[in-house]
């Protein structure tokens, strides 16, 4: 980074120069820190992924185990994200549009999956549905496997990603207030119509933001899923678990090739977040200029 010498009138020179120096120092440090922590980990993924050439890259991605992992992750995401969206909408409506006894307790419970270590979350499901538990033994007797099978992975993913949508919606719906909905009710709108015509258009960007965060976490969840999965290759390995297996087997290039897929998704997520965030701000600005 080059330092620019700034010529200023003699009188103010010293004061402004020290501020100018501070500015350059702080910006430089920020750029260095962020390059070290944010840019380099990204670059290293792609460099390592293509180390073996394009052939090795596509071979790693088209390997049956990789494809199975992609399919399993897709299933987990397609179940957990819509479920959490519906539950999140319900919980946000309840908390912001109704007087609920024990509201703060409810909010604490909603946040719980953020506070609990993913490993402990996974452990809870193993304790409930594992073969040594009463329920687990009974289910296995009837041919239903939850832990070390796909349902366990879906459960763990849903648990860990539960707070994302609610957490985004509550502040949005709180700040909107319920005036518009009350007006809707007084004009005879009710139930689903009220929600679809009045609430949804107002919260759609906030909702989308929550869904994006929820999806990103659902794709990448590692700890909780790792505990309940049992790591059966081609059957219960999600993409992140597949990366772990490859990395631990010193198939570094393949591990990074698969990782590059997730990194690409992460970058898409960041861009989508940026776009949605801008929409949220624009909406807020419009609202404040109207009122």
């Amino acid at each position: 980074m080059s330092t620019r010498v700034i010529h200023l009138p003699k009188l103010e020179r010293t004061a402004i120069t020290s501020e100018q120096v501070l500015r350059v120092v702080l910006i430089t440090t920020t750029v260095i820190v962020m390059t070290l922590f944010f840019i380099m980990p990204l670059v290293v993924v792609f460099v390592n992924a293509f180390r073996g050439g394009l052939g090795a890259y596509t071979a790693a991605l088209s390997h049956p185990h990789t494809l199975a992992a992609i399919k399993l992750t897709a299933i987990a995401v397609l179940v957990s994200v819509p479920l959490n969206t519906l539950l999140g909408l319900g919980a946000a409506w309840l908390v912001t549009r109704h007087k609920v006894p024990g509201r703060s307790l409810l909010l604490t419970l909603i946040d719980m999956p953020f506070t609990i270590s993913p490993i402990v979350s996974g452990l809870m499901f193993v304790l409930i549905f594992g073969s040594h538990s009463l329920l687990g033994a009974w289910l296995i007797e009837h041919g239903i496997r939850i832990v070390f099978a796909v349902p366990g992975i879906i459960l763990a993913t849903t648990f860990v990603t539960f707070p994302f949508v609610v957490r985004e919606l509550i502040p949005v719906m709180d700040s909107l207030g319920s005036d518009e909905e009350l007006a809707g009710v007084s004009l005879g709108a009710w139930g689903w119509t009220l929600f679809r015509k009045i609430t949804l258009p107002n919260i759609r960007w906030g909702l989308l933001y929550g869904i994006i965060l929820c999806t990103a976490r659902a794709i990448g969840e590692f700890g909780a899923v790792s505990v309940v999965s049992g790591h059966i290759r081609g059957r219960t390995n999600t993409i992140p678990l597949h990366i772990e297996v490859l990395f631990n087997e010193y198939q570094t290039t393949a591990a990074f090739a698969v990782a590059s897929l997730l990194t690409f998704f992460a970058l898409v997520t960041l861009i989508a977040k940026e776009i949605v965030m801008r929409q949220v701000h624009r909406k807020n600005d419009q609202d404040s200029s109207v009122s």
Binding site: E19, L123, F162, G191, F256
Partner: protein, 276 residues
């Protein structure tokens, strides 16, 4: 306080039903089973599993590496937030957009990527190795991974406060002859403190429970570089469910106490000004 309004809006029963059902199925019952499983254990078995030398070593390691990461995030977070809000420079928008990367990037990817960077033959590790500094497979590496996953918390907590900060206060201080450092210490820092504490708490909590990014860079040697969440997994792999439960309960209890204490501190110190 809002005035108590009669229930006009629809959907109370439905959303109450789904929320309670969802929370029960996904949060309350699993937690209850965990606690129940712990309480049915013989007290002596519980203590010998939860406070074995190996478990104690893992608590100590996890706490101190997470604490170091949290404190590191405070310093880095304030610095980055300050530069991103106060200065305009080329690449600022890009950096601002990439701050949330640790939230978007799966932890396993972060783990292998940091390991590749900081291992002895890695881009950064190979520069540090001649100086005798080892990062991967040491507690420093663990802290680094926790630092990475928790980094957005402080930045994102501090940024909005800085954006809304009334600069006239700062200018007043300066016009009265206060130096830049004094202004920061007396005017800016106290305003930022609640946000810093919020970010620190979140970052610390994240570090304490972190698994995915840590296990690759940690080395995972019992007594030396084995974090508590990994110890739980190890116990599970040995089918020692009771041992895993005991350690999980200690971890859960400790992190709740810690978060409770930090929230209380924040509420006492700032009279609930910023707490949600």
């Amino acid at each position: 306080m809002k005035k108590r309004t009669p229930r006009v809006l629809p959907g109370f029963g439905l959303t109450m039903g789904t929320t309670i059902t969802g929370l029960s199925l996904f949060v309350l019952i699993p937690l209850a089973v965990l606690v129940l499983r712990g309480t049915t254990m013989n007290w002596q078995d519980f203590v010998s599993a939860a406070f074995s030398p190996r478990a104690l070593a893992s608590y100590k390691l996890t706490f101190f590496t997470a604490l170091a990461a949290g404190l590191g995030n405070v310093v880095i977070g304030v610095l980055v937030a300050w530069s991103l809000t106060r200065y305009r420079f080329p690449g600022r928008r890009l950096l601002d957009g990439i701050v949330d990367l640790p939230f978007a990037l799966p932890t396993a990817v972060a783990g292998i990527s940091l390991t590749a960077l900081y291992a002895k033959n890695g881009w950064i590790g190979s520069l540090l190795a001649p100086l005798g500094i080892r990062i991967a497979f040491t507690p420093v590496g663990i802290s680094l991974a926790m630092l990475f996953v928790g980094m957005p918390f402080v930045i994102r907590a501090v940024q909005p406060v800085l954006e809304d900060f009334d600069t006239s206060l700062e200018e007043a201080a300066k016009s009265l002859g206060a130096s830049g450092l004094t202004t920061f210490r007396k005017i800016i820092f106290p305003t930022l403190l609640p946000a810093i504490l919020t970010g620190f708490t979140l970052s610390l909590a994240r570090g304490l429970g972190e698994y995915g990014s840590v296990i690759f860079i940690a080395g995972n040697m019992p007594f030396k570089t084995e974090v508590t969440s990994l110890l739980i997994v190890t116990q599970l792999e040995e089918f020692d469910y009771s041992g895993a439960t005991a350690i999980a309960l200690v971890m859960l209890g400790a992190s709740f106490l810690l978060l409770f204490a930090l929230n209380l501190l924040q509420r006492i110190a700032f009279k609930g000004g910023n707490g949600s």
